[in-house]
């Protein structure tokens, strides 16, 4: 791989985005788990639940700080490294980002300070409301970010304006209710819930193995396993929703994920194992399960899923159509209001394929000069890297099923076996702590690497999206980010481990007072002493 400005910009974006997403899923899920724990505390008055809220809240805070900090980079990186992208689609893409700030990020960031500092300044119910507002803010934040990202995958509700040389919004509600965005949102937040559940389960299991803080650990496992079982079921089901959306919006991505070179007669089989080979255009050693792909991909027995080869042929047609649009665009730009209606008409008919003509700019200055060989070559460029997509997707799915299994097991032990957990199961729970992060990163890799060679699918090629920067600029900032982020990561992990080892802060007086109050009732059946407000 040649390290030019495009590749370095991609590398930097991938690095900073994937790093950001080490912290986001835990924020999404843990904010809700903490709010659930605090709800139990407010409803029962049991101090143990307050300790749990504070303990998991501390870990939430350590993670949250880095999630916010690395998110700052994301908000500005489009302008810094992807200046032409920002110009070209900012009219649509910028809106959900700004609304995210207005509606969600302000909420979570303003209240997160009160969550940590407000224990003595707020009533119990008010503090609980603050905890929920942080959780709601975090989750709304994900909604708007995924609406923005969903538009890159499936650019609906917008069209090209020759006067301003950019895409402009026609229909905000189409952008908002984009089916890809909605499917991605529910899948992504579920993944966050799974991550937090696995984290809470794993840390609690470690306490049980060590025989420490068992009261806190058992209750935490109950919460994590119930929430985690629901979350892991939904992450798989809703992930399938994303796949279904891709079957008609991003057919190339789907075909690449599945290593499907030829269009198979419906219903297509699912390739459970294989080595896709992009040179030979076939998948070696394929192990196929009949009908399954057709069923999950199209939810019917009669609909075909197009293979990569057919999609490349289609891309060739679209490039040719795009060249007509490009030619008309050049005339419109020159003549502006004096453009003959026939040329405007040609442009309108072909403008949907303009992005395909831009793909040619990698090889020439003017797409109108393209030879048939160059068009064929460029059509081949629309195939993303099949092998990494094929396997990343399968690893992610396998991990999804693993989470269902583990969560179901712990849920069963927690509900029907008096919260007794065999040591081997606790060890498994500790061992799989990193797994949800791996699954989430693989998921993003499939979604974004599978979108190549486009930044906005079918509209704007990645190679055209960058800024006017030098390789030195990018190497400097890339090296800076790598160093800086590595240090922050080490510091964060160190603090996390320190606070996990230290365990919850036990307010002994409070716990004993609570038990003393309730002992009389438990022993003698006397009237319960009312719990004074704390």
């Amino acid at each position: 791989m040649e390290l030019d400005v495009v590749e370095l910009s991609r590398l930097q974006f991938a690095m900073t985005a994937m790093y950001h997403f080490l912290f986001v899923p835990l924020t999404l899920g843990l904010s809700i788990l903490v709010a659930i724990m605090e709800t139990v505390y407010v409803m029962t008055g049991r101090p143990i639940w307050r300790q749990m809220t504070k303990f998991w809240g501390t870990l939430f805070g350590i993670n949250f700080a880095l999630g916010v900090a690395t998110g700052i980079t994301m908000e500005f990186q489009f302008g810094m490294n992807w200046s032409y992208y920002s110009h070209y689609v900012g009219d649509i893409f910028g809106a959900p980002l700004a609304i995210e700030g207005l509606m969600a990020f302000f909420l979570e960031a303003t209240f997160v300070g009160l969550f940590f500092f407000g224990w003595d300044k707020l009533s119990r119910v008010a503090h609980l409301a603050v905890a929920w507002l942080v959780a709601i803010g975090s989750n709304f934040s994900a909604l708007w970010i995924l609406i923005a990202n969903g538009w890159m995958q499936n650019p609906v509700g917008a069209s090209f304006n020759p006067d301003t040389m950019r895409m402009e919004m026609d229909d905000f509600f189409a952008v908002l209710f984009n089916e890809v965005a909605q499917a991605k949102f529910v899948h992504t937040v579920s993944a966050g819930y799974v991550t937090a559940s696995v984290f809470v389960l794993g840390v609690s299991a470690w306490y049980l193995l060590k025989g420490r803080h068992t009261a806190l650990a058992r209750r935490s496992i109950t919460v994590a396993a119930s929430f985690g079982l629901a979350a892991s079921l939904s992450v798989v089901v809703l992930g399938d929703e994303s796949g279904y959306a891709a079957s008609h919006t991003q057919r190339m991505k789907l075909a690449a994920m599945e290593g499907m070179w030829e269009t198979h007669e419906a219903p297509a089989p699912f390739t459970a194992f294989g080595i896709p080979d992009i040179e030979a255009r076939e998948t070696h050693y394929a192990v196929e399960i009949p009908f399954v792909m057709g069923l999950i991909g199209t939810r019917s027995l009669g609909t075909e899923i197009p293979g990569i080869n057919d999609l490349v042929a289609e891309a060739e047609d679209r490039i040719e159509s795009g060249i007509l649009a490009y030619d008309a665009l050049m005339s419109i730009r020159e003549m502006r209001d004096a453009t003959p209606p026939a040329i405007r008409d040609t442009f309108e008919r072909h403008s949907g394929n303009l992005g395909f003509a831009f793909l040619l700019l990698r090889y020439m200055d003017d797409p109108r000069d393209a030879t048939p060989e160059q068009i064929a070559m460029t059509a081949n460029d629309t195939i993303p890297g099949v092998l990494p997509l094929f396997w990343s997707f399968r690893f992610m799915v396998a991990l999804g099923f693993l989470f269902i299994g583990v969560m179901a097991y712990f849920f069963w032990r927690s509900s029907f076996r008096q919260q007794s957990y065999p040591r081997w199961a606790l060890r498994v729970a500790v061992a799989i702590i990193p797994a949800p992060w791996i699954a989430a990163e693989l998921g993003w890799f499939v979604a974004e690497y599978g979108r190549q060679p486009w930044t906005v699918d079918g509209v704007l090629p990645t190679a055209l999206s960058v800024s006017h920067l030098s390789v030195q600029d990018l190497l400097l900032t890339l090296a800076g980010f790598v160093t800086f982020y590595t240090i922050l990561f080490v510091v964060e992990m160190g603090l996390m481990l320190k606070y996990i080892r230290k365990g919850p802060f036990q307010d002994i007086d409070e716990t004993e007072a609570w038990e003393a109050r309730h002992e009389t009732r438990l022993r003698g059946g006397a009237a319960p002493v009312p719990t004074p407000a704390e």
Binding site: I72, F93, G94, A98, G101, F105, F111
Partner: protein
């Protein structure tokens, strides 16, 4: 959707120009004192407890304050995409420095007091110092460069190109006028931070802050006056030539722009805008007087007024220009040719009208809950939970 045509395109553009000002001012007023306190930290706090007092006056609200910056970025992206595209890639390495500083800050607040080691805490204190001082300085340097024009040009495809090598581009930002505006910005936010500490901190921390703020406030006033004179007599302005189309498509190349003798022409054309610099000078002077006299609430209010006036004066002086190009004046971005589409501006306005009052309401509530001074007793009593 035709609802958006209820408000004409040019009105929406001016509205969004005003909202851009509101966001920048909102950021400077709230996150401004966080940056000021950060920059003051090594000087107002000599012991660990003193530093924790200073940190905890801003700690609980810093996260929310920083969102003004994030929201500013998002709003520029949504409402002024060409500005977002040209400025952040043009000020590339300066933006990188700001990002690093702003990334360090929330982490430093959260992590600093999570370990007892003095080396650990001291390290994070310097991170807070850099996290406050660097952005405060760079934002001022950026304003100084914008006033002089930035060396970029737009191709017919509206791709923005810049003059100069990568490091030369960065050094070019550090010209004398821009350094002066950088110092003004830093001094202004340090003074603002001092006014905040004077209100929120107890004892020696507040005393030291007042003493330093009294000096930096004078530096701000002197620097602001000097920069104003320099701008009036030493720096060329920009003007649109010919008919000004206010509701045309957002393509900067459609209008003709030339250099003018001075930005001061704006004050001849619209004399009322003199209210902004007067507000800036009056606010800053009263803030200095307040700091010296030990007044608390009113000092912070005057300091806010001064910042409001200073930022407004830059915007009003340049109107309708947002980002002039020194390399190719025709590429300059103005209010009339670098906005989003009519529909997007309208949708964003609806979103802002709905959410901004809600944001202001809950932000005010949070500040009220946290009202009161932070002193030694708070820090020692809540040693585990405070920053």
């Amino acid at each position: 959707m035709i609802l958006h045509e209820l408000i004409s395109y040019d009105v929406l553009r001016v509205t969004w120009w005003l909202l851009l000002g509101v966001l920048l001012i909102g950021f400077a007023l709230t996150d401004g004192f966080d940056m000021g306190v950060g920059a003051l930290l090594p000087f107002v706090g000599r012991t660990d407890t003193e530093r924790r007092i200073a940190i905890n006056t801003v700690g609980p609200v810093s996260e929310g304050n920083q969102v003004w910056f994030i929201l500013g970025g998002g709003a520029i992206f949504a409402a002024w995409p060409p500005l977002y595209a040209v400025s952040f890639s043009g000020f590339y390495l300066a933006m990188f420095a700001v990002l690093c500083a702003l990334i360090l800050r929330p982490v430093a607040f959260k992590y600093r007091s999570k370990r007892p080691s003095p080396a650990w805490r001291n390290g994070w204190d310097w991170a807070l110092f850099a996290g406050g001082a660097v952005p405060a300085l760079v934002f001022g340097v950026a304003v100084g460069n914008v006033l002089q024009g930035v060396p970029f040009e737009l191709t017919p495809d509206l791709f923005s190109r810049y003059e100069g090598s990568y490091f030369g581009k960065f050094l070019g930002l550090l010209n004398p006028f821009a350094l002066l505006t950088g110092v003004v910005s830093l001094a202004m936010l340090v003074t603002h931070g001092a006014a905040w500490l004077s209100l929120k901190a107890e004892g020696v921390v507040a005393d030291r802050a007042r003493r330093i703020g009294g000096v930096t406030g004078v530096v701000t006033i002197a620097g602001y006056v000097l920069a104003g004179l320099w701008l009036a007599f030493g720096i060329e302005g920009y003007g649109i030539i010919g008919e000004v189309v206010t509701d045309g498509p957002s393509n900067p190349l459609y209008s003709e722009v030339a250099r003018t003798d001075s930005w001061l022409a704006a004050y001849v054309a619209r004399p009322w805008i003199v209210v902004a610099p007067v507000m800036a000078l009056a606010g800053m002077s009263l803030a200095v007087a307040g700091l010296r006299a030990g007044r608390e609430v009113s000092t912070l209010v005057w300091s806010k007024l001064g910042i409001f006036g200073a930022i407004a004066s830059v915007g009003l002086t340049m109107f309708p220009f947002i980002l002039p190009s020194s390399l190719h004046p025709r590429s300059s971005l103005t209010v009339w040719d670098s906005s989003s589409s009519h529909l997007t501006l309208f949708i964003m306005l609806v979103a802002t009208v709905i959410f901004m009052p809600i944001i202001l309401a809950y932000t005010a509530w949070v500040y009220r809950v946290l009202w009161g001074k932070v002193g030694e007793a708070d820090v020692t009593a809540n040693s585990d939970s405070l920053y």
